[in-house]
């Protein structure tokens, strides 16, 4: 038996209702780790031959919920949700915090593969060896809180009857979708708890397309054995002590950045990125603390950082609203990006995104895009049904509802910024793309590149395997290696970005998995291997959108405009610099001048079979 993982995936076919165990060999883990890496491998094996034909929202797509070998052991429980993305038409390793991955492992599985489509709404209920596909008609259409509440109650009450003599049963862990996912909104998230989301990638829509409302799991067993129990306990103690010292991250989380990323680094989206600077002190952590935070430390399994805070509005017209922080990304995207500079406005819009099952970043991106089109008179009151002014929280909330339910213009915006821009360009006979701040179908995270003061460098999103994903940036690191290689380790081991400390993670690999992972193995074999396949599938794309690296390996047009305000006024990135850096990135990644993994790279990485798929890309792009 391998240490740290079981080597077993639960495979459920919703069309045939067939349930089986699929074994994963230890050698696969050594080549792809788990989480994002294993997802890439499974999707390549199963769909690679016909990737371009697979509709991400059709019956042939596969939904994967994957843990990594460190899930449950390394502090801060997360799980990776993946499949063919309905946003990028490639693969996004989208991770979400919570206990789901731990419960799954305690139930005896490293992950779940969901195939097919159910005839009517269902949810999957896993209790150790028992797996049931259950009717979900009663929760279909329900928002996040009601879904979670109903399932928790009904599954606990069943468990109490079944295990009457055992004592009081705990709740299961649940991943679910809101109305947005049900309506196949491409910016729908897969949610956990009340407020956590696997947002990037749009896998809420994939669940919806499979008529799968939720997956609930209770594992009553232990986590798999570890290779070196004593060393593991020491390593756990050390990393927890070390993380406990990160004072500001613990006390403010990312919730102080809504002010500072604007005021300090001039890299925060303001009014759809027309600006990246603001000095609105009332939007600082001090206001969030005193007005809305009702819990200082809130965290997921084993986390000593607990950067989440709970926010609730106890006054005024938004009374009763509950969400986490909001963290920096949503302070920005459902705040400054919409011209909202009041903590309660951002809390309200964040909670609305939670309730509807929307990705807060993606919906904030498309709302900002819409408001700019309104500002420019491209979209009008007649198109929307109401006025849409910067800072109008209630108007934006209304639009969120319309998106989640695909009502009116919401049906267009539900396609995400990129596809909405294509549609509106056609509709209005103008070019809306200059206002779309996205890369390869994915709205850019809330960290700009123009000021040069943030961690995001000029190519952060350009060669990014996950488009605009700010957690997976394609910077060059201090040793001139692709920084995304490290992120691949984070998403494949499935640990939290904020708790990631490389030396500790390596130590955990040894103590938990008995795997003496080396920097060399990671940077020269595992990460580039995963990246080469992920890149190939991204460039295969289809069937509705395709990417041409010569055009689409680029920043959004807006990032080439000079910053209009703040201490970094006038700053921008130069296209020729980006082009130069891009070529360096390609080279160190082992890709050719078009950004296609080279034949020799594939051979060195032991994945020559990918060559044939790259030929298909070349054919489409008409390059040799």
């Amino acid at each position: 038996m391998p240490y740290g993982w079981w080597g077993r995936l639960l495979e459920v076919d919703l069309s045939t209702k067939n349930v089986k165990i699929t074994k994963v060999d230890r050698s696969v883990m050594r080549r792809y780790i788990g989480g994002r890496g294993l997802g890439v491998k499974l999707l390549w094996d199963r769909l690679g031959q016909k990737w371009e034909e697979i509709d991400p929202l059709g019956p042939d797509n596969i939904l994967l919920i994957l843990t990594g070998p460190l899930t449950g052991y390394y502090p801060g429980g997360r799980v990776c949700v993946t499949g063919k993305s309905p946003q990028s038409n490639g693969i996004v390793g989208s991770t979400v915090g919570g206990e789901f991955g731990v419960e799954l492992k305690c139930a005896g599985y490293d992950g779940i593969i969901v195939n097919g489509v159910a005839e009517k709404p269902v949810y999957i209920w896993i209790e150790d060896e028992e797996v049931e596909i259950k009717d979900a008609l009663h929760i279909w259409g329900k928002d996040a809180k009601e879904t979670l509440r109903t399932l928790t109650r009904e599954l606990r009450s069943e468990a109490s009857k079944k295990h009457q003599l055992r004592g009081v049963c705990k709740e299961p862990s649940i991943l679910y979708i809101g109305p947005a996912g049900e309506n196949r909104v491409r910016i729908a998230a897969v949610a956990a708890k009340i407020t956590h989301a696997a947002g990037y990638g749009g896998y809420g829509a994939v669940m919806g397309s499979k008529m799968l409302k939720a997956i609930a799991v209770k594992g009553t067993g232990p986590l798999p054995e570890v290779a070196e129990p004593d060393e593991f306990e020491k390593a756990l103690d050390d990393v927890c002590k070390s993380l406990t010292r990160s004072f500001t991250m613990r006390y403010w989380g990312t919730g102080s950045a809504g002010y500072t990323v604007g005021a300090d680094t001039s890299s925060e989206p303001v009014r759809n990125w027309q600006e990246e600077w603001h000095d609105e002190a009332r939007y600082g952590s001090s206001s969030f603390e005193s007005k809305v935070w009702i819990k200082r430390f809130w965290g997921d399994f084993g986390c000593p950082t607990t950067c989440l805070k709970l926010a609730m509005i106890k006054y005024g017209k938004f009374k009763g609203t509950l969400t986490d922080n909001p963290d920096y990304e949503l302070q920005a995207y459902l705040g400054t990006n919409l011209g909202v500079f009041e903590p309660d406005g951002s809390v309200y819009l964040s909670a609305k995104a939670d309730d509807l099952g929307l990705c807060g970043i993606q919906v904030g991106n498309v709302l900002g895009f819409t408001a700019e089109l309104y500002q420019r008179g491209i979209l009008t009151k007649e198109d929307l049904g109401f006025e849409l002014k910067w800072g109008d929280v209630e108007a934006f909330a209304k639009l969120q509802e319309m998106i989640a339910r695909r009502v009116g213009i919401g049906d267009v915006l539900a396609e995400g910024t990129y596809r909405a821009a294509l549609k509106i360009s056609k509709m209005k006979k103008i070019d809306a793309m200059p206002y779309a701040v996205q890369v390869k179908g994915i709205g850019v995270g809330a960290h700009g590149i123009r000021s040069g003061l943030d961690y995001t460098k000029p190519t952060a999103y350009v060669c990014n395997l996950q488009g605009g994903d700010h957690t997976s940036v394609s910077n060059l690191d201090e040793k001139n290696r692709p920084e995304e290689w490290e992120i691949i380790l984070i998403d494949s081991a499935v640990v939290c970005w904020f708790n990631f400390r490389k030396e500790h993670v390596y130590r955990f690999f040894r103590a938990v998995a008995g795997w003496n992972i080396s920097e060399d193995e990671l940077y020269n074999e595992i990460a580039p291997r995963i990246a080469a396949i992920q890149r190939t599938l991204l460039l295969l794309g289809g069937p509705d959108v395709y990417w041409d690296p010569r055009v689409d390996d680029d920043n959004p047009p807006r990032f080439y405009e000079p910053l209009p305000s703040g201490p970094k006024k006038g700053a921008t990135v130069k296209r020729e610099d980006v082009d130069k850096l891009k070529q360096i990135y390609y080279r160190v990644a082992g890709w050719d001048e078009y950004g296609l993994p080279k034949g020799e790279t594939l051979e060195k990485l032991g994945i020559s079979e990918v060559r044939e798929a790259l030929e298909r890309v070349k054919q489409r792009l008409q390059i040799s």
């Binding site: 003599l165 709740e171 594992g219 009553t220 819990k295 965290g299 399994f301 084993g302 607990t306």
Partner: protein, 176 residues
């Protein structure tokens, strides 16, 4: 009094629980040698997210679980006041659970015996990690002769219902 002095109690402040479950992790590592939340002697309930409840024995002064055990499997540790389970005698019949006002004991998920907090012999590990993290949802305090501890033997449903009213407001009353 000397004996009483050595006894401790785990003070619990539910509102300060971060839901991190490091108490479950360390408890199951100490008692089971594995990370095993369902076999932990302290169990964190998340019946409403954000209002996590650590559920553990409070050592009622009259120990109703001990007197309810038909097999004399439960005894009180003279030194700490903790309830000790004799796993050879315990049959997992669940009478202790019935007798407990808070339904705290739990039958081990793989073995036929009850698991109950043993206070780690006087140095509870769950308290150590909670204190170290600065949450102080669990604090070790000296145990004085009082009935007060018994009122903490409550079902997680009842605690979270109160907490929801207090922290989230009355619209959350019917959640659980």
């Amino acid at each position: 009094m000397g004996e009483e002095k050595a006894k401790i109690w785990i003070f619990r402040d539910y509102e300060r629980c971060s839901g991190c479950r490091r108490c479950e992790i360390i408890c199951s590592l100490r008692h089971e040698g594995r990370i095993w939340p369902e076999a932990s002697r302290i169990r964190v309930f998340m019946l409403i997210p954000g209002l996590e409840i650590p559920h553990l024995c409070t050592q009622c002064p009259d120990y109703p679980c001990v007197s309810a055990c038909p097999f004399n499997a439960l005894t009180v540790d003279d030194k700490t006041g903790a309830v000790l389970v004799d796993v050879d005698k315990c049959t997992g019949c669940g009478k202790c659970i019935d007798a407990c006002p808070g339904k705290v004991p739990y039958i081990h998920p793989r073995m036929r015996y009850a698991v109950i907090c043993d206070l780690c012999g006087g140095e509870p590990e769950c308290v150590r990690v909670c204190t170290e993290a600065g949450y102080n949802a669990l604090i070790k305090i000296p145990r004085f002769p009082t009935q007060a501890y018994k009122v903490y033997a409550r079902r997680p449903e009842d605690v979270v219902r109160d907490l929801a009213l207090k922290v989230y407001g009355e619209e959350w009353e019917g959640w659980v």
